[in-house]
Amino acid sequence: MSIESTATRDRFFDGRNAVRRAVLPQLIGRTLSINDPEGRAVARWDTADMTVVDQNKANGSMVFTIASDPKPRLVLFDSPQRAALLAAEPRLRRWRRHRARHGMAVGLAWTLFGVALAALLYFGWRDGSAWVADSVPRKWEKNLGDRVRGAMLDGLYGCEGKDGKAAIESLGRKLLPESIADLPLTIDVVRVKQVNAFALPGNHIFVFSGLIEKAKNPDELAGVLAHEMGHLELRHPTRGMIQQMGLSAVISLMFGGNAAGDIAYLATTLSYTRDMEREADTRAIALLQRAKIHTNGLASFFRALKDDKDGDSPWPDWLSTHPGLKERAETAEKAAQTNDGTPALTDAEWRAVQGMCTAP
C-alpha cells in the first residue's frame, strides 16, 4: 500500500458532531497539526498533551485524544508521519504499559479496600452475631423458637406416649440450668429414623426417635440432652440462626439467588463451630454432675456414633452437624473423670421413653 493511500485513511472526529474528516497529520516541533486534504489545520495538538485511547492490532491503527479535553479522536494508521510523532513522544508508544500500570494500581487499591471491607463484615458478623444473640430479648427468642417449633411439628409425627413423655420431661427439668429456667422447657420426640437431636431458641429441644433407638442406655440420652441444654444456655441456636440466615442472604446475593430460606429445615442443619461444641460439652458434663447423673453417657454415645452413619433421609443426622467426634469423645471422657451419680432414668422410665412412638 502506498504512503499516500494510507495517509488518507487517517481520520479525525472533533467530538462535536459525527463527521469523519480525512486528515493528514504533520508534526511541527512539539505540535501536531491535523490538516484536511486542502492543507488547512482542523486542529493543533500539543504532543505532550496527547494520549493513546486504543490500538487495533488487526489493522494497525492507533486512536489518540488529548488529556486536557478528551472528546476529539484522531485515528492514525502506520505512516511516516505517525512514526515521527511516536519518535518525538516515545511515551505514546508505551501506552499499553502505562495503562496496565495505572489499571493495576487502581485495581489493587479497590481490591484491598474490598478485602478489608469483606474481612470487616465477616469478623464483624461472626463476633457481632454473638453479641446480637446475647442481647436479643428472651421474648423475641421465644417467638422465633415457637414459630420454628410449630413449623417442625406441622410436618412431623410427634410421639405422644404419656409415660415416656413424663419421664423425658422430668429428666429435662433435672438438667435444665437455672440461668435459662425463665422460659418453659419443651422436649419433643418425633418419629424420624435419623439419629439426631437439636435445640431451638427459647428452650425447645427436638429428639428424633432414631436417636433414642441408637442410645444403649438412658445416660446416653441424658448426655445428649445436657449437651443441647449447654447450647441453649450459651444461646448458640439464636447465634447460629442469625449467623446462618444472614450469611445465607449475603451468599445468595453473591450468587444471584433470593434470600428466602426454609427456616424449619435450616434449624436442623444449624452447625456450630468446634469451639461452640466444646463449650456445650463442658457445660453438659457440669449439668450432669449437678443433676447427679452418670457423666460418661455423652462420650459413649459419641463413640457409638463415630463409625456408622445412615443416609437415605432428607434430615441430616447428628454427626453431620457435630464435627470432630473422636476428639470430643476423648475430651468429654477426660472432663467427666469419674462416673459418679445414678442412672438417668429407672428401667421402667427408660422403656417408656423407648416406646414413646408406639405407646398411646
Binding site: M1, A18, V19, R20, A58, N59, W140
Partner: protein, 391 residues
C-alpha cells in the same frame, strides 16, 4: 476491518470511504483468549473483586473491534464505576437483610408480618431488576462512543420499572397471552428514549407478527408433546410393559405384595424406562428450542423492520436455522470446555450479530451533534449482581 482503499484519482473526502453502511467485527480469537485468561487469573487472585475491571477490559476490546461504516466504537466505562454501582446494591441488601431478620425475630408467633415482608422483599427485588435493566442500558449507551459522539438515554428507570411490573402482572393474569404485546411496548419505550448524540432512535413496533409466532410456538409445543407422548406409549405398549403396568395398577396397590410386584416390574424394565425418560426430555427440550427460536426470530425481524436511527433503517438476515445453530454450538462449546471456551462463544456471537444486521441509508454526520444527555456517575449496580457476565 477492511476499509477499502480509495479508488485511484478520487480525493473528495465523501468518496474516499466505502459508501455502504455496515456493521463489521474484526476481533481476533487469540486476543480474546488473552484478555479472558488474564481476567480469569486476576479474578481468582483478587477473590472476584477484579470482575468489574475484567468486564470493562473485555467490553473495551469488543466495542473497539465492532465498527459501523469503517469507524470503530469505543467503550469509555471504567471498572471503578461498576464497582461503586455494585457496592450501592450490596449496601441496600445488607440493610434489607438486617431489617428482615429483626422483623422475623420481633414478630409474635402466627403473625403474618414475616410472610408479608418476605413477599414484599421479593417484589422489591423484581422491581429493582427491571429498574436496573433500564439503568444499565443508559450506562452502556453513555459509555459508547462512535465518531467521537456518545449515546444517551432519557426517561426514568423507576417509571419504566413500574410499568414493566404492571405489564408483568398483566402477562401473568392472561396466562402469558399479553406477553408479546407487553414485551414490545417495553422495548419501544427503551428504544424511543435512546439517543446517539442528538439523534433519537425510534421504533413503533407492532406485536401482530409476534402473536403469529407465539401461536405457532404454542402449536409446536402442544402438538409436539402429544406426538412424543403417543410415541412413548407405543414403544411402552410394544414392549409389553404397559399392559403389565395397567394390570398391576388396576389391582389394589395398598398391599405390601402389590407394591413389591410393582417394584419388580419397574426393575425389569429399568432400561426401557430410562430410555423413554431420556427420549421424552430431549424431545421436549428440542421442541422448546424450536418454538422459542422461531418466536425470537420473529421478534428480531420486527425490531429490524421498525427501528430507525437518524437516517438509518435496518434489516436482518437471521433465520431460525442460523439462530439455533449459533445457540447450540455456543452451548456445546461452553459446556464441553467447562466455560473456558467463553471467548469462542463471544467471538461467534459477535460475528453472527454483525453479519446478520443490514443497515440501509447513509449517515449524515454533520447533522448528528453531541448532546449533553445526563451521564450516570456509576454503573449497572443490581444488574451486576444478576448478570451472567457474558461481556
Amino acid at each position: 476491518m477492511t476499509v477499502q482503499s480509495p479508488a485511484t484519482g478520487q480525493s473528495a473526502p465523501s468518496q474516499q470511504f466505502a459508501p455502504r453502511e455496515q456493521f463489521t467485527y474484526d476481533g481476533r480469537l487469540g486476543e480474546l483468549f488473552g484478555i479472558f485468561f488474564t481476567n480469569l487469573l486476576f479474578s481468582i487472585i483478587t477473590l472476584g473483586f477484579y470482575r468489574f475491571w475484567a468486564k470493562t477490559r473485555m467490553r473495551r476490546y469488543i466495542w473497539s473491534r465492532v465498527s459501523l461504516n469503517g469507524d470503530a466504537f469505543e467503550y469509555t466505562g471504567t471498572g471503578g464505576e461498576l464497582l461503586i454501582g455494585f457496592l450501592i446494591v450490596v449496601g441496600f441488601f445488607i440493610v434489607a437483610t438486617v431489617l428482615k431478620t429483626v422483623l422475623d425475630l420481633a414478630a409474635p408467633p402466627d403473625s403474618p408480618i414475616p410472610a408479608l415482608a418476605t413477599v414484599l422483599f421479593a417484589l422489591i427485588i423484581v422491581y429493582l431488576v427491571f429498574v436496573a435493566r433500564y439503568a444499565a442500558q443508559r450506562y452502556r449507551l453513555t459509555r459508547t462512543l462512535w465518531r467521537g459522539i456518545r449515546g444517551g438515554m432519557t426517561g426514568s428507570a423507576w417509571a419504566w420499572g413500574f410499568k414493566a411490573m404492571l405489564l408483568g402482572v398483566l402477562t401473568a393474569i392472561t396466562l402469558g397471552f399479553a406477553g408479546p404485546w407487553a414485551q414490545m411496548r417495553l422495548l419501544d419505550d427503551r428504544v424511543n428514549n435512546s439517543y446517539f448524540g442528538d439523534a433519537k432512535a425510534s421504533m413503533h413496533s407492532s406485536s401482530g407478527p409476534l402473536y403469529v409466532a407465539f401461536l405457532i410456538g404454542l402449536a409446536i409445543n402442544l402438538i409436539g408433546s402429544f406426538v412424543i407422548i403417543a410415541l412413548c406409549g407405543v414403544i411402552a405398549g410394544g414392549s409389553g410393559f404397559l399392559s403389565e403396568f395397567l394390570t398391576l395398577a388396576g389391582q389394589n396397590t395398598d398391599t405390601e405384595e402389590a407394591r413389591r410386584q410393582m417394584d419388580e416390574l419397574m426393575k425389569q424394565h429399568l432400561g426401557l424406562l430410562i430410555g423413554l425418560g431420556v427420549f421424552f426430555y430431549l424431545s421436549v427440550i428440542v421442541l422448546g428450542i424450536v418454538a422459542f427460536a422461531q418466536y425470537y426470530v420473529a421478534m428480531l425481524r420486527e425490531i429490524a423492520n421498525k427501528l430507525t436511527m437518524a437516517e438509518l433503517r435496518f434489516g436482518t438476515t437471521v433465520t431460525i436455522g442460523r439462530i439455533i445453530g449459533l445457540a447450540l454450538v455456543n452451548i456445546l462449546v461452553y459446556l464441553l470446555t467447562f466455560g473456558l471456551g467463553l471467548p469462542v462463544v463471544i467471538h461467534r456471537s459477535l460475528r453472527f450479530i454483525t453479519n446478520n444486521i443490514q443497515v440501509y441509508g447513509e449517515i449524515e454526520g454533520s447533522q448528528i451533534t453531541h448532546a449533553d444527555l445526563p451521564r450516570p456517575r456509576y454503573g449497572e449496580g443490581l444488574l451486576e449482581a444478576f448478570d451472567p457476565g457474558l461481556f
